[in-house]
């Protein structure tokens, strides 16, 4: 009768037998990568929080929780804030599973070299997720081991200081840099998996973002990126987002999708009827302020890769109060493919590293070296070199870099954190003038220092008594 009662799951593995062989640990790692595809956060909310929250885009659409992001009134009960938190921590769990089980796998098919790579990839993923958490919420609980017990003593962890989170990110990324290869066997794989270049690029970004940043370290990490056998370089800007040049030479790492079967739903949320086939009011509407910034520079190439105007039947509170007017749509991802597009986000791309290098040079007092880096990025979109005025002071140079980053990375989820890093977040949002056509008055953003971070989700506070809320 014990045989009759001893039933092993048919369609699932269990922790006792699911992580023992080489293909199983590879599958666990792939599952960890898959969070880039299957979470709302990495598909969409990173754009909402990086761009809609900033001066680049309006919420568009019809979702009050997204309006909260846009209008800087995000409350602790906002469901998206909770979703982002739990999705990122779920991704961390998957990385922790790989870190726990990979060293224990004894399978002749798993070489020591590959085992190290696997660990390096998992360290990279964990660091990337904590980098997002710390930017969104500040210090967060550091969960560094796979969860094995539901005991509140073990699960109710307090928040670590932001500095400690950044220190852990640096530690994980150093492991990743040491363990990861510069290239795998093909370019397609190079951009899908973490590489030494990706780990170094992320380490540079995290170092620059951290409260105790050291720009010399940033430059050291960048050197590792530049020396990579992957030979990253800038490509034609029009190729970056045309849906025809995936896994290109500028890409350091990007989320992988397959059109139709394993696709990305995000483009359908943004693209107009002519492309998406449906004419409900779309999300993530480019702002006047963003379009003015492109126009002021005459930056047509990047503007045309960011914004598409089309006539719509609804009215838009910022663009036109009368129907059948032309309004802009977010356009970096250009193919909707019925909610299953192959178009994707870059996790890291080389232009970011170049502008980060400029930022580091400028911070260390080398303004002309900084300008040279910025000019590379400008040259490929046919813009003139920075002016003498731009180069006249560290402050002006910083402003030029920040603007360049805005034009370069609009709709890539970076703006909010760039403003934060440059110390311009509060002033920029408070100086932002966006006229609400329904009232004829500018929208009051009432930006404060406290709003730099999201609130800790109420749902998580309810479940974990050791957590403390951010100032609201």
């Amino acid at each position: 009768c014990n045989d009759f009662l001893e039933l092993t799951p048919i369609s699932e593995d269990t922790v006792e037998n699911g992580y023992n062989s080489a293909p199983q640990i590879e599958a666990a790692l792939n599952g960890a990568y898959e969070s880039f595809q299957t979470t709302d956060y990495y598909v969409w909310d990173n754009i909402l929080l990086g761009d809609v929250r900033s001066d680049n885009f309006y919420a568009g659409g019809d979702n009050p929780e997204v309006f909260e992001y846009d209008l800087l009134t995000t409350s602790p009960t906002n469901g998206r804030v909770n979703k982002a938190w739990s999705e990122i921590y779920n991704a961390i769990l998957k990385a922790n599973v790989v870190l726990e089980y990979a060293p224990k796998v004894e399978d002749p098919k798993l070489s020591e070299e590959r085992k190290n790579q696997i660990l390096g990839e998992a360290y990279f993923l964990r660091a990337y997720h904590y980098f997002n958490l710390v930017r969104l919420y500040g210090g967060v609980p550091l969960v560094l081991e796979m969860t094995k017990s539901a005991d509140p003593e073990k699960t109710n962890l307090p928040r670590a200081a932001a500095e400690d989170v950044y220190a852990q990110i640096a530690t994980d990324l150093q492991m990743a840099i040491d363990m990861l290869p510069e290239r795998y066997e093909s370019a397609m794989i190079d951009k899908a998996r973490a590489t030494k270049g990706a780990a170094a690029a992320l380490a540079a970004k995290a170092e620059a973002q951290s409260p105790n940043r050291d720009y010399n370290k940033v430059l050291k990490y960048i050197e590792t990126v530049e020396n990579s056998a992957a030979a990253y370089k800038l490509i034609d800007f029009n190729h970056l987002f045309d849906g025809g040049h995936f896994n290109n030479e500028e890409s350091i790492m990007e989320v992988q999708f397959i059109e139709g079967t394993d696709g990305n739903w995000e483009p359908q949320m943004n693209l107009p009827k002519s492309i998406s086939g449906d004419d409900w009011r779309k999300f993530v509407t480019p702002s006047h302020d963003l379009i003015n910034a492109y126009d002021a520079q005459g930056d047509d190439i990047r503007k045309n890769n960011t914004v598409l105007f089309e006539e719509v039947s609804w009215s838009d509170e910022y663009w036109f109060n009368t129907p059948n007017s032309s309004i802009p749509f977010a356009y970096r991802r250009k193919n909707a493919s019925g909610w299953a597009s192959a178009d994707r986000q870059y996790i890291l791309r080389y232009a970011d590293v170049i502008l980060l290098k400029a930022e580091a040079f400028n911070a260390l007092g080398n303004i002309s070296a900084a300008a040279a880096e910025v000019n590379q990025v400008r040259a490929r979109v046919n813009l003139p070199e920075l002016t003498a005025d731009d180069m006249s002071s560290k402050e002006n140079m910083n402003a030029a870099i920040l603007l360049e980053r805005r034009l370069e990375f609009a709709h890539e989820g970076q703006r909010w954190y760039d403003l934060q890093r440059f110390g311009k977040l509060v002033s920029t949002m408070n100086n932002l003038v966006e006229i609400d056509l329904r009232t004829g008055k500018p929208t009051a953003y009432n930006m404060t220092e406290a709003k730099v971070l999201l609130p800790i989700p109420q749902n998580e506070l309810d479940r974990n008594a050791a957590l403390e809320q951010n100032p609201l």
Partner: protein, 957 residues
């Protein structure tokens, strides 16, 4: 010698049909015809005695003295003391029952047309709450016996159909049911051990017991409609509101005036046919039936069909061996409509309210229209465009053999199965809707293939020594379930002609999976009675479940109950007024392993759907899907019950009263975890729940002259409380507004949670709320939320009155629930004024300018601060409903005899004819979260109950 003829009448000399006549000490018997006449099938000898019994009459014994004919007058008695009650694995005389048991007999069932078993029980048995959380034809019932006993494990009772346990009762045909017994307390349900913690509903189907084959034909037809509509804004008022919120469109283009409720709601028609043949010949009892039911719902396109076939057969093979079978085959299909969703998600009920009247149904190009300010399509796009349907084939069957080993000792072996296959098909064409166009068409096919078997072996022994009567039972049961499912979805269709997924160019999902579960149980029972006065029942059962880890697999569940028939004591025996008085008391522990995850104690690793593409092609990916807990064990429910049965004046007044307390411990709880663990929840044995209550059933025979009048009334009070819990649980998420239900120590399940509304500020038009300290604020914090309602009724009740005169009978059944709250979440969408949804006319009172004094805040585009979950939307959903009113007429035998018809009845029934309630929504008897244990009392565009009129006919040949 010839056979005995006879006639049976009642007190008034009226013929009594259907009286069972049995020779005492033998199995021979017959039944009276429509004229009360009978011919006893075997030749009797002087000294034989005959027993005459019939429901509602006092059983009478008559001795055979060699006469040629016999006239018997029977007295009315509602008491039915010798009535036999079906209990677990056997039957028992009602007078000997020591547990809390409720019965619904054939008489109750005949009174009206029923499509589902739940409707038979609703309001008929104290302590039994039947929840019909929506009025969909496809919706089943949920039954709660003495409250909700669990949080994450099942709270539905065990249904046992002719000895085969089952969960889904939608496939049962009420016309085949002979009677239903509800085992409510631990001691009566304990024989079902692990599956009995929520009570047991025993369903016995009909068998033949007349010598002459009896053919019955039943049919009815009905029409149903919603009983209430909502008043919404007209086109002009809608435009005003939108303009106020700064919205603009080419209003001149939208000049229609569509009444969307009128489009969505329709008259629903139903028709039902049922034929059965039953009888008894020699040593064979048989019952065959076939039935067909066809119903269209009150919401456009919703429908349901059911065809049933049934064979019940018992054969005496030898004097010591009896074999038999019960087989039921059901073919069921329905078309569902989406409810409990907002218009953005295609919710049809909310769509009928939220869609502005200014648009028509279709555009000139054949596509569905949408809200001009936001592309939400009108509700007909969701009822008419998707071609969809669910169908289910189910076989519920068992075979048994019963051996009489020696006198008093019998052995029964029973093998039963419950197999069902269901298929869901869905197709959305690539033209008419915007979602269909975006996907270029979508085809889905899902199947489930579920199997179950049970194998029981039971040994019974009964003996009596002087005044001691003893019954022993011992047995074993093994059960196994297996589930298989597949799911296929394809997109990109060339057109709308081929609607199966094969025609789609892109495979978006292709999934197939299996799981299984097994139980092994050993059980035993002793019934002891002394002199019909002192009764004792003791049960012990051991259960093992594959869900739990090896060390925790077995659970042991004892129970005992005792009864004292005081009326049999010498000091009461001569008191004529009291015909029966019995005190009962019982205690027991029952287990529960009914959780939806058969591998809950395992640390499972799931495989992701499409994997992750590396190197351009998808690679397999896995993820940890649950936290391992090998110490997971049985949830236990301990119950005490005390009860009293009293019958006065020869059964003209009967009272049954019970009081109980049920404590459920070691709850199988999917308890929430901090999500920083990477998991959302984990299965643990934590927490404790309590249900306490009292329930009464009162039956009276008011008049039994030419006119007879019976009343049956029951009322139940249950109090539910969460005694302990590790962490509070926030549930019942409502479209972007957060949780509306709090599960917390000291509160009942179904506590509605939110802000306290304090009115409208005349200056700004914004909503005031109260802080914890009681001060008003526009911006309350989450900590200011409080309990603002309780979905549990203070009491539920039902009353049936039956009046008959000659062939006429009038039955009125009322049912109600008092003191329950409902969060009318529909009003978030219809009074919220945050987006381009049409609103109800309540918003005409909205604040518009400084100084306006009103209870409805101003419109605020894209901002829900003025429509937070608050007590503003909590309403009293108490109701009293005339559930059924039936007028029937039995044609007299004198008319029927020439046509060889033995019975003909016609009737007309009105269901839900009147409802008294203060609830403002479509219907107070709904729940958007269905049968959820914790989330109760929320209406969010839920398919309402309908009002219907049915005309029916029963013929017997």
């Amino acid at each position: 010698q010839s056979k005995l003829n006879g006639e049976v009448t009642d007190n008034n000399g009226e013929a009594l049909p259907g009286v069972t006549i049995q020779k005492i000490g033998d199995t021979e018997g017959t039944i009276t015809d429509m004229n009360g006449k009978f011919t006893f099938p075997v030749v009797l000898e002087v000294g034989d005695s005959l027993r005459f019994s019939s429901i509602g009459m006092k059983t009478k014994t008559a001795a055979y003295t060699g006469q040629l004919s016999l006239k018997v007058k029977m007295e009315t008695s509602v008491i039915g003391l010798n009535e036999v009650v079906v209990i677990g694995y056997g039957t028992q005389a009602k007078k000997d029952v020591t547990g809390a048991v409720a019965m619904v007999g054939a008489e109750d069932m005949k009174a009206r047309a029923n499509t589902q078993i739940g409707a038979l029980i609703q309001g008929k048995a104290p302590g039994v709450q039947v929840l019909s959380s929506s009025g969909k034809p496809s919706e089943g019932f949920r039954i709660r016996i003495r409250g909700t006993n669990s949080i994450n494990a099942g709270s539905e009772p065990l249904y046992v159909v002719d000895g085969v346990p089952t969960q889904d009762t939608r496939a049962l045909n009420p016309a085949d049911i002979e009677n239903v017994t509800v085992l409510k307390d631990a001691s009566s349900a304990a024989i079902y051990g692990s599956q009995g913690s929520n009570g047991v509903v025993l369903i016995t189907t009909k068998r033949g017991n007349t010598d002459r084959p009896q053919v019955t034909f039943d049919t009815y037809a009905g029409v149903a409609e919603v009983w209430k509509m909502q008043k919404v804004l007209n086109g002009e008022q809608y435009r005003d509101l939108m303009t106020e919120m700064g919205q603009n469109t080419e209003w001149d283009k939208y000049q229609e005036n569509t009444d969307w409720q009128n489009k969505v709601f329709q008259k629903g028609y139903s028709q039902n046919y049922q034929v059965s043949v039953s009888g008894k010949s020699n040593k064979t009892n048989y019952y065959f039936s076939g039935g067909y039911l066809d119903q269209t719902g009150v919401v456009r396109t919703s429908e349901m069909q059911r065809a049933n076939f049934k064979i019940n057969l018992d054969q005496e093979v030898t004097s010591w061996l009896k074999v038999g079978t019960r087989m039921a085959y059901t073919s069921y299909s329905d078309v569902d409509v989406k409810d409990n969703l907002d218009v953005n998600q295609g919710g049809v009920i909310l769509g009928s309210l939220s869609t502005p009247p200014i648009i028509g149904v279709k555009n000139p190009d054949g596509t569905y229209t949408s809200n001009p300010l936001q592309n939400w399509e009108n509700p007909l796009a969701h009822t008419d465009a998707p071609v969809r349907g669910y169908s289910n084939q189910r076989m519920l069957a068992n075979v048994y053999a019963e051996l009489q080993l020696v006198k008093g000792l019998s052995f029964r072996t029973n093998f039963g199965i419950d197999n069902n296959n269901d298929v869901y098909d869905y197709f959305l064409d690539p033209f008419s809707t915007s979602y269909g166009r975006a996907l270029e068409g979508q085809g889905i096919n899902s199947t489930n293939n579920n199997g179950y078997f049970t194998f029981e072996n039971i040994l019974k022994y009964n003996t009596s020594i002087k005044k001691h009567q003893l019954d022993f039972l011992a047995g074993s049961v093994i059960q196994k379930w297996n589930w298989e499912s597949t799911h296929i979805e394809r997109r990109k269709f060339s057109g709308g002609n081929i609607q199966t997924p094969n025609a789609g160019a892109v495979i978006t999902a292709a999934d197939a999976r299996k799981s299984e579960k097994s139980n092994v149980s050993l059980m035993s029972r002793v019934n002891y009675s002394f002199a019909d006065r002192y009764l004792l029942t003791v049960n012990f059962r051991a259960d093992a479940s594959s869900i739990f880890g090896q060390d925790q697999r077995w659970g042991y569940f004892p129970s005992a109950s005792a009864g004292w028939r005081i009326s049999e004591e010498a000091f009461l025996k001569d008191v004529q007024v009291i015909s029966d008085l019995k005190l009962r008391a019982g205690w027991g522990i029952v287990g529960n392993d009914q959780i939806g995850s058969p591998y809950a104690s395992r640390g499972l690793i799931g495989s992701s759907n499409n994997g992750y593409p590396i190197g351009g092609s998808s690679q397999p990916g896995t993820y940890p899907s649950s936290l391992e807990n090998r110490s997971l064990k049985w949830e236990e429910s301990e119950q005490i019950n005390v009860g009293l049965d009293l019958a006065l004046y020869n059964g003209r007044l009967r009272v049954t009263a019970d009081a109980y307390q049920k404590d459920t411990r070691d709850l199988l709880l999917q308890s929430p975890l901090p999500t920083s663990t990477g998991f959302n929840s984990a299965w643990r044995n934590v927490g404790q729940l309590q249900n306490r209550g009292i329930e009464f059933n009162i039956g009276t025979l008011n008049i039994d002259k030419a006119v007879s009048w019976n009343t049956d009334f029951n009322i139940s009070f249950n109090r539910n409380e969460v005694i302990s819990l590790v962490d509070d649980m926030y549930e019942g998420q409502i479209a972007g507004r957060g949780a509306a239900i709090l599960v917390q120590e000291g509160l009942p399940l179904g506590s509605i949670y939110g802000y306290r509304y304090a009115g409208v500020d005349p200056k700004t038009g914004n909503a005031y709320y109260l802080t914890k300290e009681g001060e008003t604020t526009f911006t309350p914090t989450p900590e200011d939320r409080e309990i603002i309602g309780d979905a549990n009724p203070n009491f539920i009740y039902g009353m049936t009155n039956t009046v008959s005169y000659k062939g006429w009978s009038l039955m009125m059944f009322i049912e109600g629930a008092q003191g329950r709250d409902m969060l009318n979440a529909t009003r978030f969408d219809t009074e919220g004024m945050t987006d381009p949804k049409n609103q109800t006319s309540a918003v005409l009172r909205r604040w518009r300018k400084e100084g306006d004094i009103t209870d409805i805040p101003k419109a605020s585009w894209g901002n829900r601060d003025n429509s937070r979950i608050s007590d503003r939307f909590v309403e009293d959903a108490s109701y009293l409903r005339i559930k059924a009113l039936t007028l029937g007429y039995n044609f007299p035998a004198s008319w029927l005899d020439p046509a060889s018809i033995s019975g003909l009845r016609v009737y007309v029934t009105g269901e839900n004819l009147f409802t008294w309630t203060n609830y403002s929504g479509f219907d107070p008897e709904v729940n958007a979260f269905g049968g959820s244990n914790t989330v109760q009392g929320i209406d969010y565009g839920t398919f309402p109950q309908s009002r219907s009129l049915i005309i029916g006919l029963n013929v017997t040949f």
